[in-house]
């Protein structure tokens, strides 16, 4: 219990430190605030244009697509805030031989790697996403219950956790290769896989994106809960279980990599 309190305190301590840093570089912060907002608008445009071609994508109406886009924006701004910088620092430390300082600290290494950094510039995006969400719900004249919202938040957390685990496993590969620039850009590059409704994936694509590596479910499942159109509860259960297993694998792989690092590194 004492440990949990310590980790909770350190987590917020780091957030405070990064807020101080952000104030140091105000211009930079405002710039990125605007750029990330610009990209959100662009993305919205992109999919709005496509949806408006026939008004329907894989059984999702225009307004339902907007809700999906809102959920994506919320999720995406979260992972850009909390995962991108941490993973970048993690892989850089490994490639530059600076990883020892992580191992020397009396704190769980995986926790430290995920909490040492963050970025506030995506706040505006996050707010936009939330705004879009409620606007879409109103357009659709939907009023999800508290239970629905609770379930939505739960599933959203699992989605974030899943992306984290996948990203962390990829980043941990940095222990095993000599050098791979832009290893941190792999996950951001496949974000489109969860910008679209999962019904878009058929055949082999479906097996790949909804079973083997269920990135396709990441935004769709939480959205379906709010929209009251859950296609399959077993899929939700599958996704949650898959996420937990991936998290366990990420920890196991990390420990394995540390062993290798300490055995052969100089």
């Amino acid at each position: 219990m004492k440990k949990l309190i310590k980790y909770w305190q350190i987590f917020w301590h780091m957030r405070r430190l990064h807020a101080m840093r952000m104030l140091e570089y105000r211009a930079d912060f405002i710039f990125w605030l605007l750029i990330s907002f610009m990209w959100t608008i662009f993305n919205f445009f992109f999919f709005a244009a496509i949806v408006n071609v026939t008004g329907v994508i894989a059984g999702w109406s225009t307004a339902e697509m907007y809700l999906l886009m809102a959920v994506f924006t919320i999720l995406d701004s979260f992972i850009w805030s909390f995962f991108y910088n941490n993973m970048l620092q993690y892989t850089n430390d490994v490639f530059n031989g600076e990883f020892n300082k992580v191992l020397l600290k009396p704190i769980d290494s995986q926790f430290w790697l995920m909490t040492q950094n963050n970025n506030y510039a995506n706040l505006l995006r996050f707010a936009t996403g939330v705004g879009m969400l409620f606007w879409a719900l109103r357009e659709l004249e939907l009023q999800p219950s508290i239970l629905d919202f609770g379930l939505f938040l739960l599933l959203l957390s699992f989605s974030a956790l899943f992306i984290y685990a996948v990203w962390f496993i990829i980043s941990t590969l940095s222990f095993w290769v000599d050098k791979l620039d832009n290893i941190n850009e792999i996950v951001p590059n496949v974000r489109r896989s969860f910008q679209v409704p999962h019904q878009v994936y058929t055949g082999i694509a479906s097996t790949l994106f909804t079973v083997i590596l269920p990135l396709g479910l990441v935004s769709s499942l939480p959205s379906e809960i709010l929209l009251g159109r859950v296609s399959s509860w077993s899929t939700i259960f599958y996704f949650m279980t898959f996420t937990l297993i991936t998290v366990l694998i990420s920890r196991w792989f990390f420990n394995l990599s540390i062993k290798k690092y300490s055995g052969i590194a100089n």
Partner: protein, 266 residues
Amino acid sequence: MWNKWKTLYTRYFINAIEYRSELIVWFLLSVIPTLILILVWQSIFNSQGNIQGYGLGEIIQYYLLVIFIGELTASHFENWWVRMIREGKIDLFFTRPFSLQQTIFIGDLSRKTVYALLTLPLFAAIWWAMSQVWVIQPFNLSAAVLLGFVVCLAISYAIYFFMGLIIVFMGFWLEGAQSLEHFKWIIVTLLSGSFIPVTFLPDWLKNLVNLLPFKYMYAVPIGLLQGKTTISITELIYPLSFIVCLWIIAQILWRLALKRYTSAGG
């Protein structure tokens, strides 16, 4: 004189080969978002034959050509060169027989050659694989069309290059000038017809695209190959003048930078 160009070119060529495995990985990764987009279009078509003059096969062809043109003409050198400028590493260019601009150009050209050699076979394979799943129309080829296509490729490269050069030169004044790339990407993506065939754009945007010269980067060359557009020699004066304007701006920035850089004593 030819020898010194060859030497510079070869040096950058060898350098690019060093990173060959990375280049291949990145190419494959960058194809994924397009593949997903194609799946979206597939579900939009939903066994409809034709939407606003495009069949599914033509849409797929469209996006594959977007990849093709992008791979050959887009500029990615801003990050590296801005960093060189900010770190003061370009002193050599004031004494060497090559100007900074020439070096950036030759370097970019040779890197693109390596990239093309590595990725075109992959690209052809992907094209072939997709044509096994979907019906993709043959091209409307004739000497005139081919010529027009190549001219547009050159125009696209020139626009990308000079925009990139301007961004690089901004590095003499701005810390983090490479972030200006975001504006480049958004402008080009929105206004060149690279994210969706122009027909599907909302009217106001359609008019803007037709007004501005960016359409010659993607929309026009693809339209030529698909037999939906024609161009006349006289209309090329417009994009060419635009390129000249960009070139002028770049030269002005370079003169200003020279004055500032050398007077400050490096």
